[in-house]
Amino acid sequence: MNPQALMLQVAARPLYVLILLASLWVLLRGHNEPGGGFIAALLATSGSVLWAAAHGPQAAARRLPWRSPLALGVAGALIAGLSGLPAWAFGLPYLTHLWGSLELGFTQIKLSTVLVFDLGVYLCVWGALAGYALALIGLDDAGPEDRSAHDTAATQETLR
């Protein structure tokens, strides 16, 4: 294995976690500060692209929630769609957002269907864009077994 790829692989793990945490932070602050589901999803996609560069697109897909970009996107769309349903229970039009707060004694957490909707946007866009990016990156990559075989061959070559 070539040493630069090794460096990338070692660096990828903490960076991936860091990027995902940052994207979550951007998602959560989005309602009041710059940020939101779309931007957070783009950040998360860049994390997936990083993992694909280090370990291959198949591995990057496996690291996604639900282990597949398509499933992730569908789940996101479902969550976003379902977040509009509670409004019906109160006789309001679909996707009218509801707000509530949770008292925890020491602090108070604001909860809303807006956040659920934004989470759905985040997951759906992440899934769709990661799906595109990983499929494009994997254009000449036949599959995980091929990639590992290729890696072993490359490793043997460097060792020699």
Partner: protein
């Protein structure tokens, strides 16, 4: 003894299923008769469907609907029973029954609907189900072709009908059919109404196989016989006639209406009958006579006067009662003798006596001989044509009807006499045999009913009067006497019989002569036109695809930028007259903005200088980062973040693709000349147009109303300080939902394409490896 016998074997089960399906139309028929006997017409009601558009589930049963309903359920009962015998043991019998049932329901919906939109929905449903029914034997390529032809012709007509109905509903301000028909006579003709009328006529003419759309119906004869008997005698093809009759009280006084109906109807009646002479297949002969009868019906609707309306009702009923049995007879002959080609059939009366009896009874009615309902109809039609209308039109109609009547006699003779009484011994197989009772009772019952109504015409009087009354609302009660005036009708009948008999006698000679003459005309026929355009469509599509989808990115970019530039130029040209705004001075000197601009310029120049695509991509990335910086320094942090993330992902992904191409040994870049003046000019013009667009915008006072509205309501109403995000997830949440769904769907569409690109690469990689 009260013991419930449960079906045990597979055969019993099939029988139980057939009985169940046959019981449905019979029950509907019984219920309908009970309803009609117990209540006064019209019955109507409505339920809300799309209140915002004024569209309702409105239904209305008047005399015309009642007649159609009786035909649908009556002939339907016969067809369902017949199908039980005709397709006994067929593995897909259940599919036929389900399709027939859906079709029947759609027909019922069509004739009781009192709302244009509702009517159209059922109308299209009949087109779709008839497509599946005509293509029932889908393993046969001819069958598929006929089904496609029927769908394309009636579907295209359906589109015209939809357009016409929408225009009509817009012009009249309502989609309720009864209201439109009631108000139309008092409405001034406008161009919109004329357009609606023409479009609706096209829709009805395609459905009812009128000239020049007549060619699809005989081809649809590749359907199984029960389907032909149902769709092409009593129901679907009558829908066009039905809608015309429905609208007749509204449009009847328009010269365009009567001209088109009488002209096209008469032409179809005469020409359709003559085309029957060209055929040797019994079922296709009957199909052409159906086309001709539909033409006669259309012609009668176009004629003015109450008696024409009565004639329409009577002919509708009579045709259903003789044409369906004749189709059944053709099916029986096919079943018993193995062919429907009349040259190979003869003397079948010994082998198939009951079928012969049914054919004779139905043939009597078709030829219009005394003691049959066809005779009564002939009499009513004679009255209708003596009643009135424009002189030339009536003369044309009369001439066409003479041809129609004479050839109808000959066709009845071919179906009822030729194959059963004449030419003995030409049969293909000596083993011709009679069919079972389920194939004999339906034609005998329908044909017998036709004779019974001929002997006692007063039985049908009230029904025909109610149907005629629905077409002439002014006359509150039509005085209908179906008892024929014998002398004049007999005289004209004698002439028709003489000519018809002559045609029947010299059928083969006439066939050859007419076939030769008509084949010379084939090159100009509507059918040829249809086939040519059907063949030309894929060729044109292929040519357009080759020209537009050549797979070269520079070509796509040129087309895209060029058309953008042209559109912008066209839109901006009027603005230049008022003058561009002044060149804006920067608000404040900011090193950040200046730096961002410098980055953009550096990236753009870098793109121009290099010829390597990878370097070009990196330089383009610089432009993107520069834009992101610019957004950041001009107060749009959301946009800046997005731009940064998009740019990063984009550059990495495209670089991966480029490197993958290189690894696969494909050319990284197609050879493009370094000096491309055309592209340079395009780039400069595009930049100039965009700059002038910006200057024009700057010259206008900026309306910040919407921005202020959102900014003020963001926190109090949506509890968020980030206006951009609040708009995305709250104010316009349904738009956002649509957008993410589109992004996801585009991925679904793109994945198979990308995987198709990948497979050959995997194959070559495997070959290269030892």
């Amino acid at each position: 003894m009260g013991i419930l016998v449960l079906p045990t074997t597979r055969r019993d089960l099939a029988l139980a299923e057939t009985t169940f399906f046959c019981a449905l139309p019979l029950l509907a028929l019984a219920g309908l008769v009970a309803l009609l006997l117990s209540t006064e017409l019209p019955l109507q009601g409505a339920a809300a469907w799309v209140p915002g558009l004024g569209v309702q589930w409105a239904w209305r049963i008047d005399g015309l609907s009642a007649l159609m309903l009786l035909m649908i359920t009556g002939v339907g009962s016969a067809v369902f029973c017949y199908a039980g015998g005709y397709l006994a043991g067929h593995p897909q019998q259940r599919r036929l029954y389900v399709l027939l049932l859906v079709f029947t329901l759609a027909m019922i919906g069509c004739v009781v609907a009192d709302d244009l939109v509702l009517l159209f929905v059922f109308w299209e449903l009949t087109s779709l189900t008839s497509f599946m029914l005509v293509g029932f034997n889908h393993a046969d390529p001819r069958s598929r072709q006929s089904a496609q032809q029927a769908l394309l012709v009636t579907g295209t007509g359906g589109l015209a009908l939809l357009a016409g109905m929408l225009v009509l509903a817009q012009a009249m301000g309502t989609s309720s059919i009864s209201e439109i028909v009631a108000r139309l006579p008092a409405t001034e003709p406008t161009p919109a109404l004329t357009a609606a009328l023409v479009l609706i006529l096209v829709g009805c003419f395609t459905k009812s196989a009128q000239f020049p759309f007549h060619f699809w119906l005989p081809n649809a004869m590749s359907a199984p016989t029960p389907v032909s008997a149902f769709l092409h005698s009593a129901t679907m093809v009558k829908l066009g006639v039905f809608l015309l009759a429905r609208l007749d009280p509204g449009f009847g006084h328009w010269p365009l209406w009567s001209g088109a109906l009488v002209g096209v109807g008469s032409l179809t009646a005469a020409w359709g009958m003559l085309l029957a002479l060209r055929e040797r297949d019994l079922k296709r002969i009957l199909a052409w006579s159906t086309v001709a009868t539909l033409g006669t019906l259309v012609m009668l609707i176009g004629l003015e006067g109450d008696s024409a309306a009565v004639a329409v009702g009577a002919l509708l009923l009579a045709h259903a009662l003789y044409k369906a049995p004749l189709f059944f007879v053709a099916g029986n002959i096919d079943h018993g003798a193995g062919t429907r080609i009349i040259d190979r059939l003869g003397g079948l009366r010994h082998a198939m006596p009951w079928t012969a009896a049914a054919a004779l009874l139905a043939g009597l009615s078709m030829a219009g001989l005394p003691a049959s309902f066809g005779f009564v109809v002939k009499d009513v039609m004679a009255q209708a044509k003596s009643a009135g209308g424009a002189e030339a039109l009536v003369l044309f109609a009369r001439a066409a009807n003479t041809v129609f009547g004479a050839v109808a006699v000959a066709v009845a003779g071919v179906a009822a006499i030729r194959v059963f009484w004449r030419h003995p011994g030409v049969n293909d197989s000596a083993a011709a045999h009679e069919c079972g009772p389920s194939l004999l009772v339906p034609p005998l019952a329908l044909a017998g009913l036709g004779i019974a109504l001929g002997l006692f015409p007063f039985l049908a009087e009230s029904l025909v009067a109610a149907a005629g009354g629905a077409m002439t609302p002014d006359a509150s009660r039509l005085l209908v006497s179906l008892t024929p005036a014998l002398a004049p009708t007999l005289a004209s009948l004698g002439f028709t019989l003489l000519v018809g008999g002559a045609i029947f006698w010299w059928w083969d000679a006439l066939h050859e002569g007419f076939d030769r003459m008509a084949s010379a005309l084939d090159r100009f026929s509507a059918r040829t036109l249809y086939e040519r355009s059907l063949a030309a469509l894929p060729r044109m599509a292929a040519r357009a695809t080759r020209a537009l989808q050549h797979g070269r990115l520079p070509g796509y970019a040129t087309v895209l930028l060029g058309s953008c530039t042209a559109a912008l130029l066209a839109a901006l040209a009027p603005g230049w007259a008022t003058g561009l705004g002044p060149w804006p001075a920067p608000d404040r000197s900011s090193t950040g903005v200046a730096g961002a601009c410098a980055l953009i310029v550096a990236g753009a120049i870098g793109c121009l200088l290099t010829h390597d695509r990878l370097k070009m991509l990196l330089a383009a990335g610089l432009v993107g980062y520069g834009s992101a910086l610019l957004f950041l320094f001009t107060g749009a942090p959301d946009l800046a973040f997005t731009q940064f993330a998009v740019e990063t992902v984009f550059v990495i992904v495209v670089a991966c693709v480029l490197l993958a191409l290189k690894r696969q040994g494909r050319a990284l870049s197609l050879a493009e000349p370094r000096w491309r003046p055309g592209h340079a000019v395009l780039a400069l013009v595009f930049a100039g147009v965009v700059t002038s667009l910006l200057l024009l915008v700057m010259a206008q006072p900026l309306d910040l109303g919407v921005s202020h509205w959102f900014a003020e309501r963001s926190l109090p109403e949506a509890q968020g300080r980030n206006v951009v995000n609040v708009i995305l997830v709250d104010f316009r949440a349904i738009d956002t939902f649509g957008e993410i769904a589109v992004v996801l769907l585009s991925l679904l569409a793109a994945l198979p394409l990308l995987q198709a690109l990948r497979r050959p690469a995997a194959g070559t990689a495997r070959e290269v490896r030892p």
